[in-house]
């Protein structure tokens, strides 16, 4: 938590965590002996967009679960700006600056769009803070700003339940955005979207990735090519290949996995 508040220059100077924003080291988790993630290591730079691809069951989502604290690692380490995440609770990880979007849109159905965004606003996160939280101009302006970005400014008072699938996805992205995380993790952000929505989403993503690192899981190769700086390929819980999209595409191991699939 404190590390998040430190200027990045100091963190950069820290010998333990050199220039990486996120360092995943020898990460392993097993469920009753089955190793869903096995000795995975990768490193994400500040401002890098990293896409994780791989066939079903490769352990992609589990990796995100591990980073954001949803699943506890059996072994290995995850360092975010030099801070060990594996021991932190989910909320502490979020407060440190890691945001996560889920595969199926995960929003609060019973609340309005406005309230959804308000809850995600990074202030008043303690019990007392939430009790005394005031909906002041700063909050409203920020919510309006975000709503504008995610194309939902006309739906602010709508119950989230009644949004279309694409709108729900955007709302969730908006909820992340309002947290202003330094590391943004997106699990299949365009899955199940219409073509129009997809274009808008890509546009949205391009807009919001400025100034932060992003970790994306995606199947849509076209989309991946559009946005990825680097790609990590997972297969059966292990890192199969890593590098630029170009390099990964031509890696024979990757080709075999994908064609053989």
């Amino acid at each position: 938590m404190n590390a998040a508040l430190l200027p990045s220059s100091i963190i950069g100077a820290n010998p333990d965590a050199p220039e990486y924003l996120l360092a995943v080291d020898a990460l392993t988790v097993s469920f009753d002996g089955f190793k869903a993630v096995n000795d995975v290591s990768f490193y994400v730079d500040p401002n890098e967009i990293r896409v994780i691809i791989g066939p079903n069951g490769a352990g992609k989502t589990t990796v995100l679960d591990l980073i954001c604290g949803r699943t506890r690692a059996s072994a290995g380490s995850i360092k975010y700006k030099g801070q060990e995440l594996t021991k932190l609770t989910e909320s502490a990880i979020v407060q440190a600056g890691v945001g996560r979007k889920f595969q199926t849109p995960s929003i609060y159905d019973d609340l309005t769009v406005f309230e959804n965004l308000e809850i995600s606003f990074p202030r008043g996160r303690s019990v007392f803070g939430a009790l005394t939280f005031k909906r002041d101009a700063q909050v409203r302006d920020r919510i309006h700003e975000i709503a504008e970005t995610i194309f939902l400014k006309d739906q602010l008072l709508e119950r989230a339940e009644f949004l279309s699938h694409g709108q729900k996805q955007w709302l969730e992205i908006g909820m992340l955005l309002i947290q202003d995380p330094e590391l943004l993790m997106l699990d299949e952000p365009v899955a199940g979207m219409s073509v129009g929505e997809r274009i808008k989403t890509a546009e949205l993503l391009n807009q919001i990735i400025v100034g932060r690192s992003v970790l994306v899981i995606e199947h849509d190769m076209k989309f991946v090519e559009d946005i990825a700086h680097r790609v990590t390929v997972l297969h059966q819980g292990k890192v199969l290949s890593e590098g630029s999209m170009e390099r990964v595409k031509n890696d024979p191991k990757v080709i075999e996995v994908y064609l053989g699939h």
């Binding site: 945001g99 303690s126 909906r135 709508e158």
Partner: protein
Amino acid sequence: MTNPIQSLTKSVTVNDNPFMKPIEWLSLALLVVVILVVLPATLDAFRLNLVGKYLTYAFVALGLVICWGYAGILSLGQGCFFGLGGYCMAMYLKLEASSIENTKIQSTPGIPDFMDWNQITSLPWFWKPFQSLPLTLILVIAVPVLFAFVISFAMFKRRVGGTYFAIITQAIAAILTILIVGQQGYTGGINGITDLRTLHGWDIRTDSAHNILYFVNGGLLIGCILIAQFVKKSKLGRILVAMRDKEDRVRFSGYSVAGFKVFAFCLAAAFAAIGGAMFTLQVGFMSPSFVGIVPSIDMVIYAAVGGRMSLFGAIWGTLLVNWAKTSFSESFPDLWLFGLGALFILVVLAFPNGLAGIWREHLEPRLTRRVKALRAPAPAIIPQSAPAE
């Protein structure tokens, strides 16, 4: 993409989140009038005291609305907190009633009679604080809340929820009952703490005292409603709702879910404790029969009948069920349990939102239509009000 009609009707004049909506002010006013004016004006002293007793249960139901309706934590052990609050108050009153003067026939004068019967010769340490009224008033709330905190903190940290939590709270209610009954030298056992007389010298058994206590009780209840309303309207209230539906997601919005649940549970415990203390004052005794499983579940049904999401509904539900209980059990004692059982089932199956739900889904729309018809010509498009909670 965006629905033009929607964007027209829901212009982005962002809801400025008033403390209460007009309809809620109306409900509150109605409740205040009924509790503080109509009932005292129409009922005799005996019936009014009865209503006062029912209203002490309403505190518990109110807490359950926050804890169960909003936060989704079903507690089957609210009787524990009601009882602890009541016992704290009863201990003070008992000590006052056990003056050396009043107890001179005992082998150890100056201690409660049941201690004397159990060969206890000096006041146990945990009774000592209850010699002071201010300390008692603090402990009435502090003891149950602390107890609630200890129970809930451990479990919510480990993410025990739902049915498990319900069963464990039920077991705790059972344990506490056995303990109170078993330690009769210290607690008065199954008879409870009886024969309470005065509060700081003021005789609480007279009709005028009952009257005053009734109004104090009503006032406290309204105070608690306002506190609950404040919580509900605060961001915390929305977080509770969010948590009930998607607990995980709240964590990933950066909140420590356990903390919020503990808060909701402790708040409910505090309300229950106030109810318990007021019960002791108005009824004049406290016994383990309010701590156990059956009263705890009964109190859940009050909230369910009223509507688990409605603060006002909880009060009406409590009054309705208890009124039915008293009048039915007077005329048809055999049918009463059938009726109560059927009520549980009916509410759960057909009216999960209770009285408040019936009001919102059936009566209110009809009423609004009437009102609108009267107010012709109606504006072309009337914005739908956001679903009330």
